[in-house]
């Protein structure tokens, strides 16, 4: 367990924020997650790393959970506070040999965009498209950071996105070429449904291609 100093909190919506911490000597593979909590506290939660492998800071994207304990406390942390970081953990990662050869489709819902943001920032040269499912446009967290044409926003509760409906509806209406490498991150139901749709479209998914968010 390492102690990391908070540099800043960046509020993206009234309930979603990014904590930027000093990176120190922490290393990780893009797509992995950490557990985070206040120094000395036993309450910890898992968060995928939002920043790039190459950034000289460490960032996580957090949505405040209404009845949550840690996400509420973390939102109140200030620059200069110390947080305990454990990890990195997880096997949700890109195959090194595929990065400059394949076309990728990253499918995320809500804050499940976090490791995808890290993928895109770590490997900007990669041939990729992001499909991000949210309820309202406000939840298109920092969409301006993705180059034009790389990011498709699906909004289910309003018509302000690039597509009105769920990501799974989008996939049904817009079949994906079977040589695309797909990564799915978000809630269990989306992954379960998208998995089926993609398999029917001829796409093979392995265990490293999905990350469930709760």
């Amino acid at each position: 367990m390492r102690s990391h100093k908070v540099i800043e909190i960046r509020n993206l919506t009234s309930s979603t924020y990014v904590i930027r911490m000093e990176k120190n000597d922490f290393t990780f593979t893009t797509g992995q997650y950490i557990t985070l909590g206040f120094t000395g506290s036993i309450d910890r939660r898992e968060y995928s790393i939002y920043s790039s492998e190459n950034d000289d800071f460490l960032e996580v994207l957090i949505k405040e959970v209404e009845s949550g304990l840690v996400s509420k406390k973390l939102k109140r942390c200030k620059s200069g506070d110390y947080l305990d970081v454990d990890g990195p953990f997880g096997h949700f990662s890109l195959e090194e040999s595929e990065i400059d050869k394949k076309k990728f489709l990253f499918i995320a819902t809500g804050t499940g965009i976090s490791p995808i943001h890290s993928f895109a920032k770590t490997h900007p040269e990669m041939n990729y498209q992001i499909l991000h499912g949210v309820r309202i446009e406000e939840e298109a967290y920092e969409k301006q950071t993705y180059p034009n044409g790389k990011y498709i926003l699906c909004t289910s509760r309003e018509k302000t996105g690039d597509y009105h409906g769920r990501v799974t509806d989008y996939l049904l209406k817009n079949p994906i070429p079977s040589d695309t490498v797909c990564y799915l991150c978000g809630n269990c139901h989306m992954i379960y449904e998208a998995y089926d749709i993609l398999e029917k479209q001829g796409i093979t998914l392995g265990p490293i291609h999905t990350e469930v968010y709760f």
Binding site: I42, E46, F89, G90, H91, C188, H189, I191, Y192, Y195, P207, I208, T210, V212, F214
Partner: protein, 426 residues
């Protein structure tokens, strides 16, 4: 001569570690006695994977204390990590030793009798420095290749109590196996927390297994419990090696895709079935045993039914069922829709009946065929042991020796929850 008694709960890794500790105590002049006898030292190698294992561990602590209040009582294993404070507050326990210091149990006890105090910083924390297991409780020789787990399944406390994944150097493993073979071991059992994730300086699990199978000697190799995500085609190819036993304990946990996702398992039911099909295509009677968790949060009747269907379809040789129990600090602890205990009990009974039926059918299929039995027990002229498929076999014969292979023709089967095959010596 001082007497020492052990009680081991839980996994094969704990069994291996107890075997090594028991051998070390005997090498240092202690007499090994049964746990229900009076002893000077009791060592409880605990487990904390479910509520039930915590309960059993506490029960054995009480038993040891009742048997000899003046004994040195050592509690180690996963519960020692998970409930350290609670155990340290119990006066009857002399030492609570966490997993990473388990190799130091003997030196702690030895120092205790010499009136010395060992500073915790002086304790050995090498996860792989256990000695020989030749005076342990098993005929089969267990070999530890790995410890810890990085998978962080949402129900599982083990990564918190066993720590991050660590792999033992490949040369140490091969030397260990050569040594035990030269001392007479006939069956090598690979153990660890998540053995499929073995990774030492570029050598993966299948590379290690390939090198073990290439070793000289009259031995057979058994893979113990393995996760379905930890291997690929190369390992599946090695399953047909003549030294490899046709048995895998492949942990399924649920037959519902949705539950597996919420458990954060690294495979799908579909992938699991593919693995079984690949294995059985080459060896139709290959024994696949498994674990199932019943009543994971939000497990619906439909999910449960899917699990029952998979058990029927895959013809498992044995299914070990656990009722899900909340483990503090895991992700599943905070999941909504925890399942009522009565529903879990009801589903457990259904699954147990199904599992016993499947097991009986599987074992009956060996009648008329042959097994190579490694004898572990002899009672007069009755010998017992396990065949290569890891099914218990009993037969009669004169001058049968333990730790020897015997060809046995299976002629019948006993009834019961763990039906033993009955055979005749060939």
């Amino acid at each position: 001569m001082k007497k020492v008694a052990f009680k081991t709960l839980g996994c094969r890794l704990n069994q291996y570690e107890t075997d090594a500790l028991a051998s070390q105590f005997q090498d240092k002049g202690y007499k090994l006695v049964q746990f229900d006898e009076a002893a000077d030292v009791y060592v409880i190698n605990s487990c904390t994977v479910t509520h039930q294992s915590d309960h059993k561990s506490r029960n054995f602590i009480n038993q040891a204390n009742r048997r000899n209040k003046d004994s040195v009582l050592v509690v180690t294993g996963c519960m020692a990590n998970n409930a350290k404070e609670e155990l340290e507050n119990r006066e009857e326990i002399n030492y609570v030793v966490e997993n990473d210091q388990k190799t130091s149990v003997f030196s702690l006890v030895d120092a205790h009798f010499k009136g010395e105090i060992v500073h915790p910083s002086k304790l050995n924390t090498d996860l792989f420095s256990y000695g020989a297991t030749d005076k342990g409780f098993h005929t089969r020789s267990m070999i530890k290749i790995q410890d810890g787990c990085d998978n962080f399944c949402t129900f599982c406390i083990i990564p918190s109590v066993r720590g991050r994944a660590a792999s033992r150097p490949i040369q140490d493993i091969l030397k260990n196996i050569r040594d035990v073979i030269s001392q007479g071991a006939k069956e090598i059992v690979i153990t660890g927390v998540n053995i499929g994730r073995y990774d030492f300086e570029g050598y993966k699990f299948d590379d290690l297994i390939e090198q073990i199978l290439d070793l000289d000697g009259d031995f057979r190799l058994r893979i113990s419990s393995i996760e379905p995500d930890g291997f690929g085609a190369k390992f599946l190819g090695l399953l047909n090696h003549p030294k490899m036993t046709p048995h895998l304990h492949l942990c399924l946990q649920s037959g519902s895709e949705s539950v597996l996702l919420q458990m954060r398992r690294m495979y799908t039911v579909k992938r699991f079935k593919e693995i079984v099909q690949v294995i059985r295509a080459k060896n139709p009677d290959f024994n696949i045993t498994s674990d199932i968790i019943i009543g994971f949060p939000d497990e619906s009747e439909e999910d449960f039914s899917a699990t029952c269907d998979v058990i029927k379809e895959l013809n498992f040789g044995h299914v070990h069922t656990f009722k899900y129990s909340v483990r503090k600090g895991t992700r599943a602890e905070r999941m909504p829709n925890q399942i009522d205990e009565r529903i879990k009990t009801n589903r457990s009974e259904i699954l147990r009946d199904l599992s016993e039926e499947t097991k009986l059918n599987y074992r009956k299929s060996f009648i008329g065929y042959y097994q190579s039995v490694l004898v572990e027990k002899i009672d007069g002229e009755i010998a017992g042991g396990y065949g290569e498929h890891y099914i218990p076999v009993q037969f009669t014969g004169k001058e049968i020796q333990k730790n020897h292979f015997y060809q046995v023709k299976i002629t019948g089967i006993e009834n019961g929850s763990d039906p033993i095959l009955i055979g005749e010596l060939v």
